[in-house]
């Protein structure tokens, strides 16, 4: 329990540095190190879930320097929730990559960059200092630029360049915002910032910095109108990386950071929430309209990511307890079923060599497990009961109606219907129908990929269990309270917390 918090970035960084040292020549060493590290992180995140329920807020001061002087790691309900989401997804994707990355060269470099990205994301979730957030955000972003370019074919390089340029512009906006905040408040610790803003008032600076942060973190999380890099980056990247990007990276670097800063540091007011809701609704509609016309499997999934992120931002932007609960639950669900969908598309590409929906057909007969898990994930994302997507979308719509935003509720329902339509298209063209002559001899994908897809599908089926009050008191409710507590976060962090 003591010193648990720094283990999260430390284990992943240790893995990232050990892999090129040891895993270069022998086969299987880098796989083993990645597997052990991500399994350890997964176990630690479950332990942290129980600890945060028991103690409600933990503060670890790095080097012993107490906040607000030093950098601290803070574990509250929201951090524990995001840690569990991140580490489950990265563990299962690491298992998947053991077989999938055989098709690329230099697997140990992939694993090293992967562990760096996981280290960056763990750091972003845990940190309590705004410049430290920026540093970890850059670690994760730069690792992801390199990972998108991993295959170094033409499409991948073009997509990676576009992503890297937009990501760097986003980071510059965020850094400029941090500079302005530091000039105004003379402190970098998020809890102390919150206290100073309450005492001094926002003035003209706070709306300006809010706009800079919405632009910067909005580019990172691919909200419309900042979404242009996502539909290019996802199809070209290896499937494990598309799953990581869409499943965790855009949420942690974008939505989590934005929510933490807007809710706990600045304090939300009605105008900020309205902006978030409008951006969310626009992303919802534009994402799903652009997705229906796509014939490339992964590009279609990428546009759906934009749309589902719109759902999450719309729900969090409602600001009511039920809305935030719905948004966070949808964040978890989306990580699970979107990663599963990308892993399925990777399996299809591994077996057939193509991503074009028009060229596929009837894959169900030769790849039963991929087809079944893909069907489960498509039902989940479209919001069909009893899968997990249904419950989170239902609560989002109920929360919209309860706060009187009927227009946004109608937008959410329309988006859901169109999502169902496009996934019916995917299922029909890829898995059902007659088997294409070219694909007579394809086989099911290797065991590691099947195992990973199974486990994701099981989480999809049973995730509704997380809403039962006994269990949600451990998992989702602390996260919801952490966001709703607003400025009280500062009081609790500076007042002690344990350690």
């Amino acid at each position: 329990m003591i010193n648990l918090l720094p283990l999260f970035p430390v284990i992943s960084l240790a893995g990232a540095f050990l892999i090129p040292l040891i895993g270069r020549n022998k086969k299987g060493v880098s796989d083993a190190i990645t597997f052990i590290c991500t399994l350890a992180l997964f176990g630690l995140s479950i332990v942290s879930l129980f600890i945060s329920k028991e103690k409600s807020l933990l503060v670890y001061s790095i080097g012993g320097w107490k906040p607000p002087l030093g950098i601290c790691f803070v574990l509250d309900g929201l951090s524990a929730f995001m840690l569990v989401t991140l580490n489950i997804v990265s563990f299962l994707i690491a298992i998947y990559s053991i077989s999938y990355m055989e098709k690329y060269t230099d697997k140990y470099k992939f694993y090293s960059l992967f562990m760096l990205m996981v280290a960056g994301m763990n750091g972003v979730i845990l940190t309590g200092d705004i410049f430290n957030l920026f540093v970890f955000l850059e670690i994760a972003s730069v690792a992801s630029y390199a990972l998108v370019a991993y295959g170094t074919e033409e499409e991948e390089l073009e997509a990676a360049f576009k992503y890297a340029v937009m990501g760097t512009i986003a980071s510059s906006f965020i850094l400029l915002g941090i500079g302005l905040l530091y000039a105004y408040t003379s402190t970098l610790n998020m809890a102390d910032l919150s206290g100073v803003i309450v005492a001094k008032g926002g003035g003209l600076l706070l709306p300006f910095v809010t706009v800079l942060f919405i632009a910067g973190f909005g580019i990172k999380s691919a909200l419309v109108p900042f979404h242009a890099w996502l539909p290019d980056a996802h199809p070209s990247a290896p499937a494990s990386i598309s799953a990581m990007l869409s499943g965790v990276l855009i949420k942690i670097l974008g939505i989590y950071s934005l929510s933490r800063i807007l809710f706990n540091v600045f304090g939300v007011n009605k105008f900020t929430l309205l902006v978030l809701m409008v951006l969310g609704a626009i992303s919802l509609l534009i994402g799903v309209f652009l997705a229906i016309g796509q014939w490339d499997f992964k590009r279609l999934l990428a546009y759906h990511s934009i749309s589902q992120v719109g759902y999450i931002v719309l729900a969090i932007g409602l600001g009511t307890p039920l809305g935030i609960l719905a948004g966070l639950f949808h964040l978890f669900n989306h990580s699970v079923f979107k990663s599963l969908l990308f892993l399925n598309s990777g399996a299809v590409e591994y077996a057939t060599g193509t991503r074009d929906l028009k060229a596929m057909g009837g894959l169900r007969q030769r790849m039963p497990i991929t087809a079944t898990t893909s069907w489960i994930a498509s039902m989940a994302i479209s919001g069909v009961p009893p899968f997990n997507g249904f419950w989170s979308k239902l609560i989002i719509i109920i929360a919209c109606v309860q706060s009187g935003r009927i227009g946004f509720a109608i937008v959410a329902v329309v988006g859901s219907i169109l999502t169902l339509a496009s996934f019916m298209k995917v299922q029909k063209y890829a898995f059902f129908g007659g088997l294409n002559k070219k694909f007579e001899n394809i086989k099911e994908v290797p065991f590691c990929m099947q195992l990973s897809m199974y486990l994701f599908a099981i989480i999809c089926i049973f995730a509704a269990v997380l809403l039962i009050p006994r269990i949600s008191a451990y998992f989702i409710n602390p996260a919801q309270e952490a966001l709703l507590s607003g400025h009280r976060y500062a009081v609790m962090v500076l007042g002690g917390g344990k350690l």
Binding site: Y145, E154, V165
Partner: protein, 112 residues
Amino acid sequence: MFIYFLCLILFCVGLYCALRRRNIIKIIIGLSIMEYAVNLFFILIGYRWQGRAPIEAADQNILRMVDPIPQALILTSIVIGLSVLALLVGIAIRIFEKFKTFDITKIKKLRG
């Protein structure tokens, strides 16, 4: 006050360059200009009127020092900018090998 505006104008110049240039290398230079502008802004924030370098000296009568924290922050930021620049230039070299051009209007394989 004037000097902060100049710094932000430099930032906008870099942003314009990154948005409107067609050559990949010029886009990368635009991004670098943006990063330099943000680093410069940090240093300007730290300045105190007639302050001296933030170094303790037991035998001198120090009236005022500039703020050392932004200086530490931009050291980190310069290193991050360097690593991003190295990665971007590496990607640009590979793009030249594959596409035989640096012109982004000709690098358009991904559509839709």
